[in-house]
């Protein structure tokens, strides 16, 4: 057979840094202690939707500033070092603004002015404040119709699916100005009453809001330069895909474990139901899918540096390819595992009390964030074929 160009050197490679190995141990224990199943249930009924005390501890552990440069109060490491943290948050379905706040910091890091970085990054890195993203979901319309006296923008319109907006201190907000895509840092304390409406979302372990603005003033000091918008958005998209892949791989592990436990204990026709191959084999399929997704996840975590434009990074596409594969595979694995988990719990699976349902809902939310499998595969086809 004739041979076409080899693509294997463009695919992600496996590896694990010392930081990742250490964080894995710490995060496993922290998440187990701070997000046991009953706590997940309590927070579902809580309006804020997460525990501020746990958020403070996450800040103290330094996890919010892993990828923030040292000059801005962070650890200056590769963002991918926190993949094990996101994975264990997924395993325990932790309710937390950690992922979105980390991504807001990434947006400012990639798109903000020096003054904006110096002002916001140290506080985000310390977990003193919560950041979130409104980068323009389908149907959003947020437009600058006028210019403020100081050169800022007067924006009107609607933005949706803004995670934890009610608790957030800043929102990285996308809008258009004379047809140009812009980003700004919106300080939520300046929002008028009623600007935020809580949206009903599929994942009850998270919160999302719609933001409606009418000639709201974004000061010039809060606008990010127009020329960095693309870089910032790309950075957030890839970082978001990586961290949500980690969350999904973690969730898949837990829901398989949860289901295996049920198949060992539930008895029908005088046998533990796990002895029936109609249940056993699909659960093994789910497990194999999980293991494959986890391999892709850690290849993405290892290869991510080459996509983030860091000094010394390989100047190639392997990081982006690995992250997109991880997101697509994690979605497939988590969706299948949680879907079968509902079915295999029988009548109990159809109740709200069964965690399988929480997982399936969380999987749908995660899949929809930062590009679902279809979107990832479409880009992969362009990158590889």
């Amino acid at each position: 057979m004739a041979s076409a160009p080899d693509i294997s050197d463009r695919l992600g490679r496996m590896g694990l840094s010392e930081e990742q190995a250490d964080l894995m141990r710490v995060a496993a224990e922290f998440c187990r202690e701070q997000s046991p199943p009953e706590r997940v249930r309590t927070l579902i009924d809580d309006e804020r939707g997460y525990d501020p005390a746990v958020w403070r501890q996450i800040g103290e552990l330094g996890w919010c500033g892993i990828a923030t440069p040292e000059e801005h109060g962070g650890a200056g490491l590769n963002l991918a070092e926190i993949v094990p943290v996101a994975e264990h948050m997924g395993r325990t379905m932790m309710a937390t603004p950690f992922l979105v706040s980390t991504l807001a910091a990434e947006a400012i890091l990639a798109g903000g002015t020096d003054a904006q970085k110096s002002h916001w990054l140290p506080r985000l890195a310390a977990g003193e404040i919560v950041g979130t993203l409104a980068l323009g979901e389908a149907g959003d319309q947020m437009t600058a119709l006028g210019t403020a006296e100081d050169g800022g923008a007067m924006v009107s319109g609607r933005a949706t699916l803004i995670e934890h907006a009610a608790a957030a201190d800043i929102i990285v907000l996308a809008f258009t100005q004379s047809g140009t895509a812009r980003l700004a840092i919106l300080e939520t304390e300046r929002l008028p009453e009623g600007a935020l409406r809580r949206e009903r979302i599929i994942d009850d372990t998270r919160r999302a809001y719609e933001l409606t603005l009418r000639t709201f003033e974004l000061p010039a000091a809060n606008l990010m330069p127009a020329e960095t918008v693309t870089a910032a958005r790309e950075r957030v998209e890839l970082a978001g895909a990586l961290l949500h892949a980690a969350d999904m791989v973690g969730g898949a592990f837990r829901v398989i474990d949860y289901t295996a436990d049920y198949l060992r204990t539930r008895t029908q026709f005088g046998k533990q139901i796990g002895s029936y191959q109609a249940l056993k084999h699909p659960l093994v399929d789910a497990f194999v899918g999980y293991e494959k997704a986890r391999s892709h996840l850690y290849a993405a975590a290892h290869s991510y540096g080459s996509a983030s434009g860091r000094p010394g990074a390989r100047n190639d596409m392997s990081g982006e390819i690995a992250v997109r594969m991880a997101k697509a595979q994690a979605e497939r694995a988590y969706a299948f595992a949680a879907d079968r988990a509902i079915q295999f719990h029988g009548g109990f699976g159809f109740t709200y009390d069964c965690d399988a349902g929480l997982h399936r809902r969380r999987a749908l939310w995660n899949a929809s964030r930062h590009g679902d499998a279809r979107a990832q595969k479409k880009k992969l086809a362009k990158l590889l074929f």
């Binding site: 057979m1 076409a4 002895s275 391999s295």
Partner: protein, 400 residues
């Protein structure tokens, strides 16, 4: 004389295979050791294995006192890489090299090691396996072939099936029932390194799904084998058989090296996808085919990433045995799925088979697809693999 470094050895191997890899013999060579169906294929592949062994590129990591090279796994891996790069033919003595050999090395006595190992490497002795029986396939523990002790011998009566190269083999790794009254079916089994070319053993060729030969059914009618061929002790056959299956499934190391089958690799199917046209346009312009190609690509890459992940302890802590136990299931099913996908890519040309000049790649993908079932069925079916993973990794109750 000091041992060559891995780099030196790799260079020597590259040069040797570039020089010595045989040209197309003018007849079809088997894709795997299970399709050695003609004498000319057998003679050709046996000569090739002997030649590679004599050059030092097979069994490089086996101990020198038993005919090996006395070097390291890294040396053998370098040689295997060189033969792959040169697209060298397969080794035919798979059961000796990969299953019986490591088993004898790990658990055999001195006499067994001296008697068998060197001839496995040189292909002087061809080995086959006697596990499955016509009535006991997936339920291997129920094997019924009788081995009755009589003085210094055991007398064998019964039948084995799917005996790869049974008509050529000199020895068989054999699972037989020595105690029909044992408290459970497993305890009555024993494991033998049985000679094949003795009175009372007869083989009958079986034609396979692909139309080729390579298997036999093997009949034992009062065949006498010496008691010294017992390995692991009487009544311990099940344990030895399970260990053998771990070598077979790639869950345990010690194999002699090289490869015994040619599988489509990631690039092979991608090459095909880039070459073929559907509806007058490149196949990968079709979003459905591109989507399927990506799914296969990600699955194939996951398998190689999983092999690397095995070595990273923190990443296998939750289920330490999962990745090795999954390997056989994943590889064999992927091989089948990818070969089937290749036929989808071929469209109208999927109608052709091996030997037809109008076919693509001489029907390679059609044969590859049909052959793929040998691995999803042999060595424990995929369904048995799922039972094993479910029970041993996920802790699910046993299926009865």
């Amino acid at each position: 004389m000091t041992d060559p470094t891995v780099e030196e050895f790799a260079r020597d191997a590259e040069a040797w295979f570039a020089e010595n890899t045989p040209a197309d013999p003018g007849f079809m060579l088997p894709l795997t050791f299970m399709e050695v169906g003609e004498d000319r294929q057998f003679d050709f592949l046996r000569d090739w294995q002997r030649k590679v062994y004599e050059a030092g590129f097979l069994g490089a990591a086996w101990p020198a006192e038993y005919g090996g090279g006395g070097l390291t796994d890294a040396h053998q891996k370098a040689a295997t890489r060189a033969m792959r790069n040169a697209k060298a033919p397969i080794f035919l003595n798979a059961i000796g090299l990969n299953w019986a050999g490591p088993l004898i090395l790990d658990t055999g006595n001195e006499a067994q090691k001296s008697a068998y190992l060197k001839n496995i490497l040189s292909a002087e002795d061809i080995w086959c396996q006697g596990f499955s029986e016509p009535d006991n396939g997936s339920d291997l523990g129920n094997a019924q072939l009788k081995a009755v002790r009589d003085g210094d011998d055991y007398v064998l009566d019964g039948s084995k099936i799917w005996t790869t190269q049974g008509n050529y083999a000199d020895h068989m790794i054999l699972l037989a029932r020595t105690d029909p009254d044992a408290p459970n079916k497993y305890a009555g089994l024993s494991f033998f390194l049985a000679p094949m070319k003795i009175p009372g053993i007869r083989t009958q060729k079986l034609q396979k799904l692909t139309g080729e030969y390579g298997f036999t059914q093997t009949f034992f009618e009062g065949a006498r084998i010496p008691a010294s061929t017992l390995i692991g002790g009487e009544g311990n056959g099940w344990k030895v058989a399970m260990r053998t299956l771990e070598y077979e499934r790639g869950a345990r190391g010690g194999q002699a090296g090289g490869y015994v089958s040619i599988s489509p690799d990631m690039m092979g199917v991608l090459d095909l996808a880039r070459q073929v046209e559907r509806d007058g346009a490149p196949a990968l312009d079709d979003p459905v085919l591109a989507d399927q190609m990506l799914d296969h690509l990600m699955d194939m890459h996951a398998l190689s990433l999983g092999n690397e992940r095995r070595r990273l302890a923190p990443l296998v802590e939750d289920h330490p045995t999962a990745l090795p136990m999954m390997a056989k299931l994943e590889f064999s099913e992927l091989f089948r799925a990818v070969s089937q996908f290749a036929l989808t890519l071929l469209g109208p040309k999927a109608a052709y088979y091996v030997g037809e000049p109008n076919s693509a790649d001489d029907g390679w993908w059609a044969r590859s697809y049909l052959n793929a079932f040998s691995a999803t069925i042999g060595g424990g079916t995929s369904q048995i693999q799922k039972n094993i993973i479910g029970e041993h990794v996920l802790g699910l109750p046993k299926t009865r």
